[in-house]
Amino acid sequence: MKVTFEINGAEKSVDVEARTLVVDLIRTKLGMTGTHIGCDTSNCGACTVLLDGRPVKSCTLLAPMLEGRKVTTVEGLAQGGKLDAIQEGFHAEHGLQCGFCTPGMMLVGKALIEANPHPTEDEIRWGISGNICRCTGYMNIVKAIQHAAAANAAENVAGVA
């Protein structure tokens, strides 16, 4: 069946089987491999994308559910060659090791600081608790998100001034 939606700002129309999982649609049909698969039971969050700005698990979404909606993947984070604050944060704070969870973690982190610009450590830990990282022990992921929040805050101050 035909499904039309927006991904990273571009409109896409694809012809897929209804049973196609969104993660497979993105990886196989659209060839964007930054969205990963880490489990079969909706537990790990490696497949996280933003659906109309909210993080969801793309392995637990059917392709036709995207009709008319907006999707953001990791490939949509950097704008015009410039890294998003969340990407800068993960780099500066060593928030990634193997990188497999990283796209999901960054998207969740970005949505989190957009909804709550000054999160506490507890709020961050709670906010990323749907995403598993097997490598980092989360310490530096928390710092990475704090780093991005601080950078955004600084930019806003600069923007106002």
Binding site: V56, E67, I128
Partner: protein, 292 residues
């Protein structure tokens, strides 16, 4: 893992949904948030012929207060209950339960009605709805029914809902008394279903006595359990430590847990008791602090 093939449709109007359901009978499945159904499809535990996605039907979302009821659209996401802070003081137990359901990403998709219709014995909303005495509005091509939560849950993944019916709304009566409640959940980690959870909701009368009490138990039986003996023991009484301990003991007795990897039956029963005891203390404290 991927689902087996099926047909899919997403009607824009409820009537269309209802007529599709009556046409396809057991071959059709309603799709709401998909956070229980899609995992089942992937495991191929469910293999419907057609999915009827209710995602495009207007009027199924949102939380309103109307005519002595809080009315929650069946397709309201867990996440939207979580942020409905206006319920604090009226329906604490909902606000406490919502953030404990699965994880933040699942909560962005999963719906209250989907969870209730799915009727997982370890699903959190079932116990909450029993505690607050909710009613469920369900519609089919042949009309509307209003089903009380008590009696709705019949067994694991089995309810009083017919296959041609859609749940449209959850109605929770909210009276004028001072009320308080809370939800306590033992989970092994975030994203885990409950090993044991308890929902408690109390209303205090003007005399300070307990005017109404609701206690729901999660994951300690074939379906969500209403601890009626414990509730009855509370009603009309002035709160005291002894009363609470006795009610908690009765609630523990109402549990029908089975041993599994999460623990023995005795363990789960005792945690249910401990949680109801702690929950009642919190609920009564909150109600006593509340202004009617």
């Amino acid at each position: 893992m991927f689902p087996a093939a099926f047909d899919y449709t997403a009607p824009g109007a409820l009537d269309e949904v209802l007529s599709l359901l009556s046409q396809h009978g057991d071959d059709a499945k309603v799709l709401a948030g998909g956070q229980s159904l899609i995992p089942l499809l992937k495991l191929r535990f469910a293999a419907p012929v057609i999915l009827v996605d209710i995602g495009r039907v207007d009027g199924l979302e949102g939380i309103r207060r109307e005519n002595g009821h809080v009315r929650i659209g069946a397709r309201t996401r867990h996440r939207d209950v979580e942020s409905a802070t206006e319920l604090r003081g009226t329906l604490d137990v909902l606000l406490d339960a919502a953030p404990l359901i699965s994880d933040p990403l699942i909560r962005n998709m999963g719906t209250v009605g989907g969870s209730i219709c799915h009727a997982d014995p370890a699903g959190d909303w079932g116990a909450v709805m029993l505690a607050v005495g909710a009613e469920f509005v369900v519609k089919s091509a042949s009309g509307e029914r209003v089903l009380p939560a008590a009696g709705f849950f019949e067994g694991p993944f089995t309810t009083g809902l017919r296959s041609d019916e859609v749940m449209t709304e959850i109605r929770i009566p909210v009276g004028s008394g001072r009320s308080g409640g809370t939800y306590l959940k033992l989970e092994r980690k975030v994203g885990d279903f409950a090993s044991v959870a308890t929902a408690v909701h109390v209303v205090l009368g003007g005399d300070g006595r307990i005017a109404a009490a609701g206690i729901g138990l999660c994951a300690v039986g074939a379906h969500s359990i209403k601890a009626t003996a414990a509730e009855a023991a509370l009603v009309g009484q002035a709160p005291s430590d002894e009363l609470i301990a006795e009610a908690a003991r009765l609630a523990g007795d109402a549990a029908e847990p089975k041993a599994d990897i999460r623990g023995s039956a005795e363990y789960k029963r005792d945690v249910a008791r401990v949680f109801v005891q702690r929950g009642l203390h919190t609920a009564i404290n909150r109600a006593q602090g509340a202004t009617a």
